[in-house]
Amino acid sequence: MSQPIRLKTPLSNADVEKLKAGDKVFLNGVIYTGRDAAHKRLFDLLKEGKPLPVDLKGQVIYYVGPAPAKPGRAIGSAGQTTSGRMDAYSPKLMEIGLKGMIGKGMRKKEVVEAMKKYKAVYFAATGGAGALLAKAIKKAQVVAYDDLGPEAITRLEVEDFPVIVVNDTKGNDLYQQGMAQYAR
């Protein structure tokens, strides 16, 4: 496997445009958690023209609802959830500057098109490897929607958080490429 590309958030257009489906990436810096309920709230605020509780320009959203942290730890197990449930909201967030999403599972055509249009990428982490992925998360702080419990928006500081590019800005799709390569 190729050597991982190290990237630090926030990401620029140039950062994401050089990535291609299948690239292994180590993310560093700050990323934000967000899943179903938080996405709906962000989407509703944008529809009403109101400001968001976090600035998403150049940012990466990690689709995760972590397990509670044991005492002395930054976070509990923290692997990603299925991304398809965020499809209805993602194009709008990319329009305002979101550059990356981390999840698992296929995205709708509209989301893939939005990645091409607004220059953003979709990463997969290893789903279900929540204990392993939590090791790369050094700090976690809830920044919005505390009432949502595990679905609150949390600011994560990550070091070499391991992901792989599934959809790049050119419309390539690792899920389709990988399956075509091994189907028989």
């Binding site: 509990g76 299925t82 698992k104």
Partner: protein
């Protein structure tokens, strides 16, 4: 009659909630080892290594294997010679879930379907009770994550579709689920019964140890064929392309109505969790 205190049920359920989320069974660990060896894709092999490393961290550091610690699905085989004293049976199980998910730092994932408001203690448990002979209580706790559970289905086939119809639907279903249910998956298939029973049969199929075939030779052959066909889809570990899409296909069958031919597919992720205890 043998008397069993409800508090004992609570204690056992609490421990099973924690243990099932921290440890995988030997059969699953062996299946991950086999999968890693058989996987042809370099990325897929790396995924297997990550999954094994993840399981090791969870066991050694006593943390959840996956952040989705599931709804607590509880199968209870209650001996008919047992008299439960000192409390309500269902309340005792739910109290065990409440305590286990709190003390194990497990995620609470149970919510109101419309408002999505979290119940905050992962109750109510999903309880499947069967009355059996004897004076013991067997409890199997199988936490079920949402990602894999969402990729499940019940189909009321026409009897004319026959065994080939079932096989084709299973393969099609796993294909369309793709990377969503966190492959490598375990495929539970139920055939026969009624609408509700076939779904439960598929779920019970997931409880059979991986690598143990159905004793019925026809179903054993069906399991083997389905595993080959599913792995030929090329979905691979995490859907990134590869040889191993499923660790096992387990099929269970029960008789059905002369007009009906129900089937169900219940997928589980590689974090194929269940633990049991006998009181």
């Amino acid at each position: 009659m043998r008397e069993i205190d409800a508090k004992q049920i609570t204690e056992v359920v609490k421990k099973l909630c924690i243990d099932s989320n921290f440890y995988l069974g030997e059969d699953v660990l062996a299946a991950l080892d086999r999968g890693e060896k058989m996987e042809e894709s370099p990325v897929g092999k790396e995924v297997f290594q990550q999954l094994k490393e993840n399981v090791r961290i969870a066991r050694e550091e006593q943390v959840a294997i996956c952040q989705d610690t599931g709804l607590a699905v509880v199968f209870v085989e209650l001996g008919q010679e047992v008299h439960i004293i000192g409390g309500d049976f269902n309340a005792a199980i739910n109290e065990g879930v409440r305590q286990g998910y709190k003390e194990g730092y497990l995620r609470k994932s149970s919510c109101h379907p419309f408002t999505r408001a979290n119940t905050k203690d992962n109750t109510p448990a999903i309880i499947h009770l069967s009355l059996v002979s004897g004076d013991k209580i067997k409890i199997i706790l199988a936490p079920k994550g949402g990602g894999a559970e969402n990729m499940s289905t019940v189909i009321m086939l026409s009897p004319s579709e026959g065994i080939e119809g079932v096989k084709n639907r299973v393969v099609e279903w796993v294909k369309q689920a793709g990377s969503n249910p966190c492959p490598p998956v375990v495929v539970g298939v139920g055939v026969g019964g009624t609408f509700e029973e076939v779904a439960l049969t598929a779920k019970k199929a997931l409880l059979r140890p991986l690598g143990q075939k159905n004793p019925d030779p026809q179903l054993a052959a069906m399991e083997e064929e389905l595993l080959t066909r599913v792995n030929n889809l090329g979905i691979g570990p995490q859907g990134l392309g590869g040889r191993i899409t499923a660790l096992a296909v387990n099929v269970e069958m029960i008789p059905c109505h002369i007009a009906s031919f129900p089937m169900a597919v219940n997928l589980n992720c590689h974090a194929h969790r269940h633990q049991e205890a006998v009181i």
